[in-house]
Symmetry: C2
Subunit: 249 residues, 2 copies
DNA sequence: GCTTGCTATTTGCATATGCAATTAGATATC
DNA sequence: GATATCTAATTGCATATGCAAATAGCAAGC
């Protein structure tokens, strides 16, 4: 057995007791004073040491377990977890918000629209059956007058019937959908591609210029709602995320 | 006042009661039966309706509130929240894990190493002061014999003294650091760039070919630990993440 | 050695109880 | 009408209690 004499848990008197306990233990873990594998004192011991009831200690520990900092097993006790494979959290803002955050003027333009059964190339690009009725849109978003991102989207009429009577004159499709549709699952994929000729022309860059491609598909209870390809030109654009181990912010 | 007659909460008898309640309400929210703004019945009402104690109901509601699905205020009651700006969660695996997941053989090679004060071009690329001592590494990771990703990394000697005596012969630097260093903050940036000549040669692609560039910097309590640039060739590579509204999985 | 079963430890869950904090809405007062 | 005050609804927190479930470690039996 390893020596697992843990440094004492110290409360700071600020806020609810269960949260003081939670923070105290969290700090011991993230500061490395309790490295992974350290055994956390059992509830009864903490209860005595801290003068709190077992349920209060329990509440703190349950929450830490849900956050992934500790692992609890009946009879075996509680140990500090190893930091899991991290997730990078990237904020997904709507495009108008994104541009506004850059401090630039936002504008958009619907370049094309078609309704009904999809053309073969579109069906293939989005993995659609030819029989599924969709609305297909190409939208150019501008920031400060310059092309910011090229959006190509299909919206499933079965999932969002209201799209048939919407012309997207005032609100771009992404934002409109947030208001007029529901989704329960989404999938993102981020990759780098070279701009094709048409895309390059619209984005005002050279053919083959590297672009960030974000492909997002959303479903509501396994029924597809919308799929979108967002093409961001070159090194101009980057996704940034900040986070801590154990998935914290 | 809006009509806020909520559909009944129904338990399914599977697992702990508090979790049945949590799931039942979560499902009503994510399915849209309780749209944002709907008022959730007060604890006493749910308690009677479900035959559970107030603390049990409370536990479910507290958890839903922490997950951001509902908003609770004393006296005002509980309402369904609006979905927040989403985040895309991307799994960040270590590179060996990443390759293994692809079902390919993993290998890596240290292409260069230098210790001490950084050369000017390196200092600039990573935003270092000339006086900070670092170890600078270039590593090529292969999957199934082919170049998978080119890694360029600096490790701060002040934060990780042990790096001075490690040759990374058995474990690549990224994985080694997970074992031998602590971090409390990290920042990712993902962008698309064209391969420069040297990079292209090492990755066995054409100059200018689009690549995904992941730049990650980590700190421990505001002191820099390591910074890395990972260059993934072309459309071969994509980051994928799945998630739901309200930040769920 | 191997398996089987017992026992004590530790966490998990649910309840009942009581009080504190917040505040919407009603009421009283100016 | 405006303002101050009160009241009651609602959530937040902590405790005490009891039992259930899992299981590590030990003991007994083969």
């Amino acid at each position: 057995m390893m020596d697992t004499r843990p440094d004492a848990v110290k409360l700071d008197g600020a806020g609810p007791v269960y949260d003081q306990i939670r923070r105290a233990i969290r700090d011991l873990v993230v500061s490395g004073q309790w490295p992974p594998g350290t055994s956390v004192p059992p509830e009864h011991a903490l209860m005595e040491q801290l003068g709190a009831s077992r349920m209060t200690v329990h509440r703190a520990l349950v929450q830490l377990a849900r956050e992934g900092l500790i692992i609890r097993r009946r009879r075996s006790g509680t140990i500090v977890a190893s930091p899991p494979a991290s997730h990078a959290m990237l904020d997904i803002l709507s495009i108008p918000q994104e541009v506004e955050k850059l401090g630039q003027a936002y504008a958009y333009e619907i370049l094309s629209r078609s309704d009904g059964k999809p053309a073969p190339d579109i069906a293939e690009r989005f993995g659609l059956k030819r029989s599924e009725k969709v609305t297909h849109l190409v939208v150019l978003h501008r920031a400060g007058g310059k092309p910011h991102v090229l959006e190509e989207r299909v919206i499933h009429l079965a999932a969002v019937p209201a799209v048939a009577t919407e012309d997207f004159a005032r609100v771009p499709p992404g934002d409109w959908l947030l208001q007029h549709s529901l989704w329960s699952q989404a999938e993102h994929a981020i990759s780098a591609v070279g701009a094709q000729s048409e895309e390059a022309a619209l984005l005002d860059i050279a053919i083959g210029e590297p672009c960030l491609l974000v492909e997002r598909r959303t479903w509501n209870q396994d029924r597809p709602v919308t799929a979108v390809r967002l093409l961001y030109p070159g090194p101009r654009h980057r996704f940034v995320g900040r986070f801590g181990p154990y998935g914290q912010v």
